[in-house]
């Protein structure tokens, strides 16, 4: 399915499987902690109100990144816990799994963080997150009416995203 005319997207989307909607929700944050997008498809348990939930998620990732960099047994660079890091520096974690869900994470050097929560049997979603990042670039960043740093309110992006996530195996 060609979304963007003749432009080749790298990577090309994985094959669509018919496993229904098994993604629970997605968050997209920018480097200042603003939640650009929050969409849920399948979330039965709501613990906090939306704003607190987003803050919690962002805080969690911020701490996890710092922690994983500190605990790295292989890295040569010295990292101090709590010291702010440049986005993309140090080792970066990409997913964690519990018995009820899997959280996949991707951060770009420009500070855009993508978080996708799915069922625990999902495989490695790094390529999928890259594809979603491409969607973000094409439908949101390139839209001249979009102000960077504000929440995304574009139906076209939302529908395309929904369609893509529905196809994730």
């Amino acid at each position: 399915m060609q979304f963007f005319g003749a432009t080749e997207i790298n990577p090309s989307p994985p094959a669509v499987t018919a496993s229904g909607n098994n993604a629970h929700m997605i968050y997209i944050f920018n480097r200042n902690g603003v939640c650009l997008l929050y969409r849920e498809w399948n979330r039965s348990l709501h613990t906090l109100n939306a704003q607190q939930d987003q803050k919690l998620m962002f805080g969690l990732l911020f701490s996890l990144k710092s922690l994983t960099a500190k605990m790295d047994p292989v890295s040569v660079e010295k990292v101090n816990l709590g010291v702010p890091q440049l986005p993309g520096q140090g080792c970066s974690f990409h997913s964690f799994r519990t018995n009820t869900y899997k959280l996949s994470f991707m951060e770009t050097p420009s500070g855009i963080k993508l978080i996708l929560v799915t069922n625990p049997r999902t495989g490695d979603l790094r390529e999928s997150l890259k594809y979603i990042y491409n969607l973000y670039v094409e439908y949101v960043v390139k839209n001249p009416l979009y102000t960077p740093g504000t929440p995304i309110k574009y139906e076209l992006f939302n529908t395309t995203l929904d369609q893509y996530v529905r196809g994730l195996g």
């Binding site: 003749a6 993309g88 050097p109």
Partner: protein, 186 residues
Amino acid sequence: MPAVAPRSGEAIFASAERINSELFTLTYGAIVRQLLTDLEEVDEVNKQLDQMGYNIGLRLIDEFLAKSNVSRCVDFKETAEVIAKVGFKMFLGVSATVTNWDAEGTTCSLVLEDNPLVDFVELPDTCQGLHYCNVLNGVVRGALEMVSMKTEVTWVRDMLHGDDAYELQVKLLKQIPEEYPYKDDE
């Protein structure tokens, strides 16, 4: 899953949708012309072009990162190489060379032999102070700011002023790491 290798500037440029380069050049020329008519002062026009470039750069960085797949650059030297070889090639179709590194490695020059923005352009006597391609300054500055680098970008050589090439000097002022944005009162 193995990481996807970064794509070269050539490959991305070849796969991108094309428009007529004359259309691009003439559109840019029309923008500069209109700014000169509206603002009249050459310095104001330079500032406005830089601001426009800055706004472009803020958005361009995401497209660049998405298409080129480069991971975080280790130091400023690598950053400059990536801008010159991948960035310029991808968006303008010409690659630049990186020269004139200073002792600390925080200032360098990007030299462009060929610049599609200035095809057919000759500056009249009334506009001798105009930096016609000032939008490029803004783009580099805006894009680098989104990857946590505060820079200062100035023109050293400009073919429209009689020099033999276009030389942009990029100076790294400081790196701004990500701070935890929420206040600790909650």
